[in-house]
Symmetry: C2
Subunit: 558 residues, 2 copies
């Protein structure tokens, strides 16, 4: 077999990037090899054309065990994608994937890492094409689909590759061991240490962030020597199909069996994730989605290491601020971005009933709520701008939840329909803000479960003290991907930190500018903590990669 | 509170040791700060006296929630220890332990590591006392109790501390993050990263190696900020009670609540491990013991990270050797050490029916078996020497299994009773070697499950090829802590390695001298792989520590 991508070529291209990624993860300073501005990528038109050329066709993947074709994606912007994907017989596909693994194991951690970086580089070069695919499966607005689905997702993938490489190379490949024995000859052994894979890694993709949430697990498993089977959400197949195709292309060029990365698309109602998750060959599972299925995986897929990101309830504690306008603007943006369809969007804003201190004087609960509603209205007043921020509702469930939310309390800000001039069929809605009093009967039943989508609750509480206790209770019982706080009091700040340390939640304080609690940056920010019910893993830390491989030692007399 | 052990004092004493441990784990070269020869410890008589002084008394531990006293240890050497330990009410003890955690978290990774090293140093200084306690709970002979229960266990504890420290300090405590924004002002954040504990770590001790198997989990959990509750095996309480007392003493002197480390001794038949394992406060469990209870923990203690070492079937593949005498001597020692009561003792010796090539010519299966039997007899021919190697049977179950083994095949070497002149009540038995043919009906039912104790099976197989397949099957289905191989063929060596890579087992090749497959050295050898059914964790790697804490990030505008 001719190998276009030799280890030497790969090292010349990517060793520097890998080293920079390792250094960034160590310092946590800002770094990315993937520019986030669309203009940094010249192939805008070609990328759009490439996306268009996919529509209405079969998506070829030369995988073993293909026993039919399936696919029924419809864009939240109103386009039937009409793409069909190969449907695989697991009894044929999984053995082929396992058979591909020994060569990948033998390649060693560095070559595996460099091949992964090349895959990401190929994907990066096609970011415009991926952006359209993400946009038309998730309902994200184009700019967000471009950034979060492109460079930011690629960053998270590269971060996982770097962590995987670091973890596999902490133990040297070989060592001499000489134990003194007093006057006798020393004992001498020659030892080798080989990272070996677990088996097949299953990535169960989500509807809203197929690449951003899919890449960490995919690349962590692949870089640690495992084969990876990608089972996309049936409504968001295309971005992951493109990813699998890119991976297979690079693997083949580097002289490895492409079946190390395969796609498993389900027929309607097939329940394929459950079937695959229980296969003995599957030893790693990465899942993002509902708590019900995440819990099912953790309970039932006992042959596998299971990494889950599930539902949570994100809280903002508002005690006081020295930049009232900045706070309102920041929160308005956070609530609006992608119609609140982010696992990191704040849901509950806890505000003392008596009000908060601000640089504009004391503001009562009702005033804060009204001012925040006005800030959201101001931000989204113009339809074109609103659509570019909101994107589209990803599916009818979100719309139904939004419509039901008005019954849950006093509507402080009603959701309104926005028309997207380019895609009039898109369901675009501004966020609703529901005011509640925590002391009201059954108030908790409204805001103490995840209401995924453009619905937030402004909750009047007795005091900042009560807000902290409610925060603690929420994180402990419901989990949280993010916690946010506004305060000018060092004591309140300290106590917010204490609650987050004890309940294990990631905290953002006094964000009033261009950084939003919804967003985390690879190589610097952890996404989730892995220590509360919202997720059992964090993106990305050593625990996310260290158990994806094992080290086999062979020792011989020297 | 006056603090005798300030961070400065601790750093002066132990920072060098910690750094050396980190370096040894990185290079895998031989290193230990704990000499293994009893003569290196001057306090032999004082240690014996200290042990004697414990007998027949209550063991005081000033723990909260003590609601009675319990204890009924009887030495396998025939002494009733007569020690009673506090029995704890979990409803009082666990909240007290949780209340102790914030100060420990605030101390940070370095201080925690140094306190742990101080605990190990205190234990090391009392190694003679611990050796008697280990001997009279496990039945190990004194020298082994001294070495494995003392310096080697302390090494494994220190190794866990080093890994825990390294993992917690990979992310810096704080970072500045500046993201360029083209012509606009950059986004700037100040970030802190704080390792936070999971909760309470439960260590469920075993009968045979209470310290060696207990210390890794105990120190890994403690060094990562958790409180640790030690639930010893009811027949091997004293070594862990001494450990808990030492830890509490050091914690108090360093200004921390001693309730960070507590002891939970069960009343007869209480089933305390099951109760504690399901408590919501318990978030980490380390267990060594039967597969049945290990599986139960993995299935049921879903609120916790569970690290288990369970039963396995260790195989030796004998293909050929260029040092036949050395091989026989090495195997004879491995089978005899502590009466085969090690999780690492070889059980099945797979030998081609037609025989093996050796430096003394071809040897038929029956000859190899007879020569090995003779080697064991030679090694154990003299009672005093035999007793010093065999120790005593740890409990009546082992004796019953040994007696039943004669029915399982042809007795190639019968077990014989040995008298220990110092402790005539000790049940001392030489190992039995049972010959079987793998082709015989039901042969597998005899040797394909763990027969813990001084019983090994010499199994005739069709060929080395068949031995490799049987090895693969055994590891995959039954698990293995160790695999051993003897061959002069590079091809067989390669294929042995391949099986161990694919089935994830630790391999020792051609051991003919003073290194035995049963023994692993901390900082260099991995104990178990964590990738086959014998254990879900390896001692010690990053995966053993990385999920025992989480990292909480707090970010603020800079």
């Amino acid at each position: 077999m001719s190998v276009d991508l030799s280890p030497t070529v790969l090292a010349e291209r990517h060793r520097g990037t890998l080293d920079q990624a390792l250094e960034a993860a160590r310092t946590r300073a800002f770094w990315s090899p993937h520019p986030e501005h669309p203009k940094a990528y010249p192939e805008a038109e070609a990328g759009h054309a490439a996306f268009q050329a996919l529509l209405g066709h079969r998506f070829p993947l030369d995988q073993p065990g293909t026993d039919g074709w399936t696919g029924s994606e419809r864009s939240p912007y109103g386009i039937d994608l009409g793409v069909e994907y190969p449907h695989a017989d697991p009894d044929a596909l999984l053995p082929a994937m396992r058979a591909a693994m020994p060569r990948w194991r033998e390649a060693g951690p560095l070559t595996r890492a460099l091949v992964c970086v090349e895959i990401l580089a190929r994907i990066n070069a096609r970011t415009h094409e991926f952006a359209h695919a993400v946009m038309h499966t998730t309902g994200q607005a184009f700019t967000m689909a471009f950034q979060a689905g492109g460079p930011h997702a690629q960053d998270r993938g590269l971060e996982a590759v770097a962590y995987a490489f670091a973890e596999q190379t902490r133990t040297p490949p070989e060592a001499e061991w000489t134990k003194p024995q007093g006057k006798r000859e020393p004992l001498e052994l020659r030892k080798t240490f080989t990272p070996v894979p677990r088996g097949i890694g299953l990535v169960v993709g989500c509807n809203t962030f197929p690449t951003w949430n899919g890449y960490p697990g995919l690349f962590a498993s692949l870089a640690t020597g495992n084969a990876v089977l990608v089972k996309p959400h049936p409504r968001a197949v295309l971005p992951l199909a493109l990813t699998v195709a890119a991976a297979r292309e690079v693997l083949a060029e580097a002289g490895f069996p492409p079946d190390l990365v395969c796609l498993a698309v389900e027929r309607p109602g097939e329940g394929l994730a459950k079937v695959l998750a229980l296969r003995p060959e599957v030893r790693l599972i990465d899942y993002t989605g509902s708590t019900a299925f995440g819990d099912w995986l953790e309970q039932n897929a006992r042959q596998a290491q299971v990494f889950t990101e599930k539902a949570g309830v994100n809280t903002v504690v508002i005690d006081s601020t020295d930049d009232y306008r900045g706070m309102l603007a920041n929160l308005a943006f956070s609530l609006s971005l992608y119609s609140g369809q982010m696992c990191t969007t704040p849901q509950n804003l806890l505000i003392p009933r008596e009000g908060i201190g601000t640089d504009q004087g004391k503001r009562a609960f009702t005033e804060v709520v009204a001012d925040l509603a006005a800030a959201v209205e101001g931000l989204l007043g113009e339809d074109a701008r609103a659509a570019a921020l909101l994107g589209a509702l990803v599916n009818p469930d979100v719309k139904a939840r939004l419509e039901a939310a008005a019954e849950l309390g006093e509507v402080a800000l009603a959701s309104r329909a926005v028309t997207n001039p380019e895609f009039p069929e898109a369901v675009v809605r501004t966020p609703a803000l529901i005011a509640l009093d925590s002391a009201a009967p059954d108030a908790g039943s409204a805001f103490l479960s995840e209401c995924f989508g453009p619905v937030s609750f402004a909750v009047a509480v007795d005091s900042t003290e009560a807000a902290l206790e409610l925060l603690r209770h929420t994180v402990r019982e419901k989990g949280a991907m993010t916690v946010s706080g506004y305060t000018t009091s060092p004591e309140v700040e300290r106590r917010l930190e204490e609650v987050c340390f004890e309940e294990c939640a990631q905290l953002s304080l006094n964000l009033t500018g261009g950084v939003f609690v919804n967003q985390t940056a690879a190589f610097s920010d952890f996404h989730g903590s892995g220590g509360n019910p919202a997720a059992n893993a964090a993106l990305c830390d050593a625990a996310f990669v260290a158990s994806r491989f094992r080290t086999v030692e062979v020792r011989r007399p020297a």
